[in-house]
Subunit: 457 residues, 2 copies
């Protein structure tokens, strides 16, 4: 009997493996597809690869300001995909080598939990094999949701996974259904690699997510306009058909649009059809877990997109670490109070903690500190000054409770803000810290000046 069977090798499974191996546990791993799960093979990592390329394409018009004289001949998504595949293959092989070096058995097949200690592996051949563990960790992630009647077919109507894993060539025109995170990220990538993109979003703004402030949506919309990415807000797809190798959408506005391909990007649902023992689920279909991430069966824990917490790779990893420690080490409650996240579209957007609106809803009085990257010397030197930092403080204590960073390297700078939130730092403490000059992080010094010292105007 293993100490622990881990089902799934996405960010949750991967971290569970690392933690368990470092705790000297005897583990087995079940994976039905490629090592690394969606995150590595068809979500986070390919997205950021393509985004790195798109960002370089964005740089080309300004390189003459650095005295670089070049001719851009072409951009090829197909070649970018080859690079992407290599990068991901390197990471996947490193993962496989680790498992091999540590002699971790990897059972290839679909895992089904058939009793509190037993996972049945159903192999591609149809054969089955049962393995036993003192504990089982469910880290099976999620699958793309559908909306209305639109059914992805992998050819004309793509999921984000189709796009990120397999798409070889971009269509001349791409319709994106859903202007949320993945929709805006892919719209930007496809546009920089040469597609004409139209985003259809049912709500009244792009990135219509409670913790994305309206000012950020407006900035993305301005950027999309400048890039020629069309978007139709307050609009949904009423009807569609695929004919003559084209997708035709009839929109709620009455307008009809068409393209060679459409991308369906309307969220994800938990992949919970993996057990036959009646683990309890909530009304949205997530496995119910307590604050130690234990399911309704005490030998079975769950992490990541199968439980009701933010659907983010790093939340899955974090939960995996907590779950494994709770099985074999000191008990630790899961804590979602400080989770930074980021969006990589025409601008980089990152956030942690409470926004001003969220604080207001909770009845917390706030003051905020703001500073644009316009005068940040590092951003000026990098010729990327769009964006700003906004920090939110509790009004009386001046403790920082959240922050938004938009612009250059926002997804890195957010970590300093996140540490400050985690450590309950005050505006004064953030202000009195010594930041390297010139750095992007230095913007925190300036975003706290008003609150810590006094206003300039």
């Amino acid at each position: 009997m293993y100490d622990l069977i881990i089902i799934g090798t996405g960010p949750g499974g991967y971290e569970a493996i690392l933690t368990a191996l470092r705790m000297k546990l005897n583990i087995a791993v079940v994976e039905k597809d490629k090592l690394g799960g969606n995150c590595l093979n068809r979500a986070c990592i390919p997205t950021k690869y393509y985004r790195a390329g798109a960002h370089l394409i964005d740089k080309i018009p300004v390189v003459d300001k650095y005295g670089i004289d070049l001719n851009l001949n072409s951009v090829s998504f197909k070649k970018a995909k080859e690079g992407k595949d290599k990068a991901i293959s390197f990471l996947r092989k490193s993962f496989a080598q680790l498992l091999k070096a540590k002699k971790v058995p990897v059972y290839k097949g679909t895992g089904r939990i058939i009793d509190r200690h037993t996972v049945r592996i159903i192999k591609d051949s149809g054969e089955t094999e049962d393995i036993q563990g003192k504990y089982i960790l469910i880290a099976t992630g999620s699958v793309p949701s559908s909306v209305g009647s639109i059914v992805p077919d992998g050819r004309y109507i793509l999921t984000t996974e189709d796009f990120m894993e397999n798409l070889e060539e971009l269509p001349e025109n791409l319709l994106v259904v859903g202007g949320g995170v993945a929709g805006c990220e892919i719209a930007y990538i496809a546009s920089k690699y040469g597609s004409k993109v139209t985003v259809v979003e049912i709500k009244d703004r792009l990135l219509p997510i409670p913790s994305v402030p309206a000012e950020v949506s407006r900035l993305v919309q301005r950027k999309f306009k400048a890039l020629g990415i069309q978007f139709k807000l307050g609009t949904y797809v009423e009807d569609y058909k695929v004919e003559k190798e084209r997708v035709r959408f009839k929109l709620s506005s009455g307008e009809e649009i068409e393209a060679e391909k459409a991308l369906l990007s309307v969220g994800r649902k938990p992949n919970t059809d993996i057990e036959e023992i009646g683990l309890e689920k909530d009304e949205r279909g997530f496995f119910k877990v307590n604050e130690y991430l234990q399911t309704s069966v005490d030998s079975i824990y769950a992490c990541g997109d199968v439980v009701n917490s933010p659907m983010l790779a790093h939340v899955a990893s974090y939960e995996a670490r907590v779950a494994v420690k709770n099985m074999f080490g000191e008990k630790e409650k899961v804590d979602y109070s400080v989770i930074p996240w980021a969006i990589f579209t025409a601008v980089e957007i990152a956030h942690v903690g409470l926004s001003e609106d969220e604080a207001k809803e909770k009845g917390i009085e706030t003051v905020s500190g703001y500073y644009p990257f316009t005068y940040n010397e590092k951003a000026v030197d990098e010729l990327e000054t769009d964006g700003f930092v906004r920090l939110v403080f509790e009004k009386n204590s001046k403790k920082v409770i959240g922050g938004t960073v938009v612009g250059i390297e926002a997804s890195e700078v957010i970590h300093t803000v996140a540490y400050a939130v985690k450590q309950n730092m005050t505006a004064q403490q953030i202000h009195e810290f010594v930041y390297f000059h010139p750095s992007l992080n230095e913007i925190l010094l300036y975003a706290t000046y008003d609150v810590a010292v006094g206003k300039l105007f």
Copy 2:
């Protein structure tokens, strides 16, 4: 009488102005040259501008991995200088606009302190004007040092300031005397923009600075070799002459080398010849200040390169904030325990707190955590995986006391480490934090695994 007279508008003077204006003080500013001082006009900001260009040039050979097909026609330092001048001019104008908007009088000329409340401004015309302040802040910075007999002439033998402010065209060959921070930064820039560079360093490694670990010097040396930048360690210039428009060096090794230009980069000395009242100085020529940054005359404070603290722009800024608060607000002792710094050469290098060697010298027992960028998914996506993070912990408490980051965006990631050092965080706390995936900061999770959970091998 002004509340405060600030002499110098470099990073110290600039921050003093911002803090004083926010404290609603009535101030005057004295500047003999351009607003922004050395940092803005001929040090930090131009260096990072050119470095941003050099880094883009470095990227060009890999852009095909993103499907970008381009021809590099040429790189022109002259055009890069135009871009640099524009960026700096924008920042200088913003500074001037602020002073104008706040109606701050700017006295153009050299300031000399002639009594405890009086600064005499000596204008270019020779005219003088005396102004009075309750307090005076000396923020006059530093000037380049010479070494032995080598005398910069602004034409064949350049200072770093000549290079950064005025140089229009790079020489075909450049000799760099001094392989410290500025020497290695300029060697990299000049090399990427087309010069053949030879660095002469008297010590046995590049970046021979106590807090730069030997492994980092070795990495820079490997990179320099790969870039074709020559360096001669344990070597100094025994004699030199300038003839037929060439600089000829006779080295201590007996070798003779020559080039169209040489750069002298052997440190800086405080610019303290600005007073006639006998302010006390230490044996190295810095103004003596107490821990409130007050000189031997209680109405006169000093900050930045004129006092004996790390010669860094952000230390000057920090001291300026502390000094102004100490004049008019709550008393605050200056604290140099957590000062991040960074070097921008063929790799980006950043450090904060104690290195393992420095801790050992202080009798502190340590354990350390290490992780390379090789497997950091963001670094893989950005095709920049050279480098690593090393965190140093006090052995018993496992509190982090220092860290080194080498590689992509090291100068940003160091801030998270610096916050951790400042907040006395343990390896466990750093490890349990939730980092965005994929991010560079995530490397801190992996660099703490050994100490917080256990070793993998």
